[in-house]
Symmetry: D4
């Protein structure tokens, strides 16, 4: 039976990272088929996978070990072919509690890519002292991912305090004149702080990928199958885990 | 000859401040005629009066003493009927040098209304330490007018540090994704800081009037003719005067 | 167990009011945990809490006495540490019956903050005589919060009749060319009335906080624990209560 | 020499009014040629004709008597074939002095069409008492054209006070959040007053045409050539003339 | 028990039509209370009343005879105090089948107001010949209400063919670049046809009210109680009734 | 019983294709009635018919053989009066798996119109090599329909590589700054590739119709009833069928 | 001296047409250098070249014969290497006189490409009879380019009357709610007529290129140098020439 | 004389780069004063300085050696205190000739910061082969700055081919549906390529600063005064110099 889709297995060689599955807009059958094919070459990351979609999906036989996280709506399917450890680490800073979902999407993506990260939540500028108190910790990171909704003032404040690369993720948190993330997006782009950059609204994934591009220094870091669990070189990833992730049972590959 | 316009002389009694002339959209003849009529009752403030319009206007005989300021594009025509001194003072804080024109419009309007104010320029959040260094001075004011273009992050940072009323004036300074002040306007409205309020883009005038509403506690403060120059009770107004204001000669009333 | 969030207990000292919990975007567990921590220092206000979220939330043990109001979607958790009575009072004026939810959010927030207020509903300009009939009552207040959807003409009419501070809350009431509150928001910002100011669309909360900043004259008004019920100095708050608020039982602090 | 354009001489029979020339986007040669052709059948109205374009145009030989008015940017070329007198009259109400240009475009168009009108200027809602003082005069008209920029609150206030047809002309007067007339346009469309209608931003012409459609009750009112000057049945049109209109000399038809 | 709302009983005297109840944003209790009060003076019209809201509402005792129509989402409560017959008639022309709901809102409103109307459906310009075939019928009406979604080309075509007043109702029918009615709204406002006017998106009600303002020639047409059913002078209203309207039983007034 | 709608049976003669039924905004009864009438003259295509609407619809007696496809939301009712085979073929190229629904709407419409087409999925520019690998196949087609969401870069890349007509269908796939298809729409319109054209967002139907206009060379190709199944001249249509289409049983014509 | 730019000489082979020079954003030196290089292979077309830019440019030595047209802002540099005659012809239909500039850009581009065309001006729908009178002429063309500003109703009317490919060019003609061409652009995209397509606002060039893609049936039609003037097979192009084009003298190649 | 502005001399220590002067919105006197103060500590960069502003400015005595470049609108004032050489290099890739001004702003900023860069112009996707031919050169860089207007397809194509950090600069080049850079901005943000990031429209400066943040790895690279000219470690910067930069004479420091 011929496939509907053309997978881009060359991407690892060309870009240094494999194709990732954006679940939004795809049905269960499509996702399963794509995951299976990709898993022949690498561990697989699926993003924007809702709880309901996962409930339906997890009934299907899937290769390897499936690790679903509801908060970040990400699924990682591990088949023992993970990315090499990438030196350097990322501070993911959020303005408010409600931005944490987006931050977690970034953290989970970085973890999948072999990059160490840590989430520093709730340092929005409504109380800029909270941010100042965390400044040392933030400055020690190689890259800062700043996640903020509402008016996105966090981007400029951090950009004026820290000289490292600042990747801004505007979120759609807020209402009225936030216009679904437009206010925070325009803030990131119009920032008076020099050289801060923006990704799409709510795209923790995009910021993680941008961080990977910086830290990996380009292609040729994705590796041969090896055992991923417990490895000393696996990225350290300080999460803010509140509830256990849904973890499907390990299954045989068909 | 009957007049084209109906002036609102009742406004002082009703609102506590007289009608102000918005020069934009009016021609020289109209402005002169309106100023003359209003000057029978009060000193007169004209806003949004460009240098070119003033050059044309100043050739006409005008009542009293005309004090034009190019930077703020305001004209005050003094006929000895100024507003009473209003207790309280206003800190006008600007993010960048280029916001100073708007700040000056606020300061000149407050001065005309009998309110003390001071401009604290260049404390944008790209270097939040500059703002922190001025915090004591800002906190001492009764009201803060915050003037900022680009992404308007200043609004939230000040709103999170100072408990006084914060009146935000988004400016059209910036380019691209600032979209003529839209970015800073949305920031003011979506601010994560509690209870900051916004006026129209570039409206230093609007913020000054809002400050006056707060400090004057409503109508009945505008007064009988009295000599304004040198009066001990005149508002103190710490400007950032760079060049001498264009000051028309004192003229007889026709 | 370490917390996900950094609370800003310093806010009372710095700004004069405590941190308020915006329920939107937070899950039940997060809200409960934050409320418990904040309740150690002050009574707690939760906003944008839907009926469904409250039904789930109210099953959890909460400190003190929980007073939920569906119409305004606010929850007040009283632990005997309420704000001091703040002198002055606020008139909350609405254009239409459907704007009352937003007005109630303002009224409940003011009540929590110790500020007296009264809702004057249904005085939209489609029949400007209704507004004129209420003018004396409105003028007696120290501050006017004007709540209006559709085209927001109320803002300018009140701003031209009353000399007190006018805080405009554009609402998303209306359809088509109202564009989710954009029409009324632009009206507030472009108002021909002098010195009216705007908060975010539907933000009764924001207007109440702005009123508090004006009346409280800055920090240092939040007080030691004392008994709130029946106190003579508690704010008078004339509501438009239509249905009894959901009131959770008083519970022991854990 | 063949013509570039197809004129719609049938329009009078079909719609009851002749084709009008929109000068914007046409060059001098085009305008002259079109005017000459139309003048064979009717007096001709040209709109959106700037002072500079008129200066260039008036050097060309034109049929009949040319009456240019700079404020409304309209030109009427009279060749003795004017429209019949149309019973009924129109009140053109403006919010501010700067809206008068648009009001004059409406008044001049109505005059050309044989409709009586009067401009009632400067009754914006910043002082709603001015409007109330003019209410009797407004109510006596058969149709009200309301012209307002900024937030356009005038539309709703008049619509709530007067039961006649209300034709709203939003103007681009204002700045910032007026967004070139968008604020006043949305106000007209979202008005809480029942049954007010809108034409395009700054289109005094459009409102006049709509009034003509109502008063003329459809086609068959445009008439045979007759002498227009001094006619007893010519519409009365109370202008706010400030400066004499530019009136080209009468010229022979080529 | 005091009421939440201030009803505008003076509206009939002032404007010639009574207050109409916009159900959107009001709950059942509010609607019932308002209807009961208004019904003391006039028959009552309720608009934007969804099927679900009506199902809940119809269980309440209501005065008079309730006539609900799902397609137009309108309810008419008849208590024998209907509007006088208004001479003249209205053609309601729709571009597509899906615009008929909006057309029916106009028709039902006109019927309530005592105005004769007829719906001419499905004459969109994708087949302009259909429109031309109906032209005679349309031209005979005193007023044309044109209802169109998508690109709204109908407005200009009718405006160029018919000399009567043209009231355009842009609808939100369409998708993508229609942007919820924006495309058809801008078409109505930018129309190359002279003097066509627009009401809000989807507002059949607004267009009907505008037509009433034209045909009624202002206030003083609403009348004393009289029997409405079977009256010879009742407006003729040619509907496109497909399914019987939900008609609540006649109930005693409480 | 008179009909609510005026069908445009003349369309085949005038344009070369029959009226198609847009299900959105119509209820079941309307759709059935229209389909029955149209089926007297031609096979019938219904678009934007959701699964739920089809489930309700399929219970009604319908003429001929009903072939419903959920993915493209299209229904074809075959009564033996199909379009003539149209020479030429169309390549439908999609950027991502999630764009396939829109592509299938195009393919099904073309099939109904007698045009051969083939879907080439998943050749988005994130891996431009995939596109280059399919270039020969794409170039062999007479027309290219390019379907892309997100940033729509595919339009320009194909437009720069292939000299055939390029019909762009921007899709609403994506989130945040895609703004419901606005980003991809603006990309199609602003493309640096010469002479690519755009249809509405998500309108696979519109692109198919545009392709038909090109290949059919205008009217006079729709034919007399003849047996459609198994015909040698029927268009070849290479689908990407994943699941069997819902196919209603053949029914007698009433 | 190395060049700043990389020319795409392969474009003729790949796409069937050579690179065209967009003058906007380039300075005189750049344009001259590019034209010289391109002229080695083909006649050259320059678009968006203002009168002022041409005045400066024409002083430079240029290859071949330069033919500048102010109305369309196009320059054709003929070096005897013109495109082959392409069979088929295009009707360029405009709504108003002011759209003719855009129509002429299309006509001149088609002429350069070897395609026959004719401009049919001034058939806007404000008088749909004018359009109907020209219908036979329009239907005889192989492709229709429809050029319209304001509300763009022309697109749908023509699309409903003519079965040939309809390429819509929305223009920025109009004011206010036209929003610089947005209204007409949305009309083209939301058209109720089936299968009409749109190019960018004011892009007569884009429509011409799209027509060329259709008529040329892809690459391999651009030819060897041959004498272009007076050739029997040169496209017939019925212009609306009002003033002689600026024609630079023939110059030697440097 | 007290200064109007507060300079941020601490920025080098905190962020690793000094304050840069944005000329837009500042007058000559302000710019000169700021430059003089900043020049006490570092070489100074001024951006967005128009030719006219420079002509006025260059008459003033300035410290050190002033190097103005019209194309990029940048001024560098060298006082022998340049930034340390920063290892790594940047490829600045532009889609069209008209994007080169923005690219040059990036290049000049990088040069000032001590970073090696090279401009690779005219590799837009209208001829993707041009880009493929330059791919090796692009891939060798450590960072890619992609500059593109119109639809910005270049961002996604490069992002899909190159694994290094991709900094996108959307430009306002284009017209109509480009909406002053909005189309290319949305393309950068919605890109299907993983991890590309965006700066503000036309902000070559912003992209350069972002590149510096990545290559410099944070603060502590700005150095003590030393002679900058001819230094072996100065960045290599391959420009596309077309005309000699305006270079003011060396002046004494006052």
């Amino acid at each position: 039976m011929p496939s509907d889709f053309i997978l881009d297995f060359d991407r690892v060689r060309r870009l240094g990272f494999p194709e990732v599955v954006l679940a939004a807009g795809k049905d269960t059958a499509q996702i399963v088929a794509i995951v299976r094919q990709l898993a022949r070459e690498n561990d697989v990351l699926v993003t924007r996978l809702t709880r309901d979609a996962w409930d339906e999906l997890s009934r299907e036989a899937m290769p390897g070990h499936a690790d679903y996280d509801e908060r970040s709506r990400t699924l990682v399917v591990r088949v023992g072919k993970s990315n090499r450890f990438v030196p350097g680490d990322v501070a993911i800073v959020t303005a408010g509690t409600a931005d944490v979902d987006v931050a977690e999407e970034a953290r989970r993506t970085l973890e999948y890519l072999g990059v160490t990260s840590r989430v520093i939540a709730d340092v929005g500028v409504a109380g800029v002292v909270r941010l100042l108190g965390k400044l040392d910790e933030i400055e020690r990171a190689d890259i800062v991912i700043a996640v903020a909704g509402m008016e996105g003032a966090l981007f400029s404040v951090i950009g004026g305090l820290v000289g490292k690369p600042i990747l801004c993720v505007p979120t759609s948190r807020g209402y009225g004149a936030n216009f679904e993330g437009l206010a925070s997006l325009l803030s990131a782009l119009s920032s008076c702080a020099n050289g801060v950059v923006a990704v799409n609204i709510d795209s923790g994934y995009g910021a993680a990928m941008a961080a990977y591009r910086i830290l990996s220094k380009g292609p040729k870091t994705w590796q041969k199958p090896r055992e991923s669990a417990g490895s000393a070189s696996r990225p350290r990833s300080t999460s803010t885990a509140r509830r256990p992730a849904s973890t499907g049972a390990r299954r045989k590959r068909s």
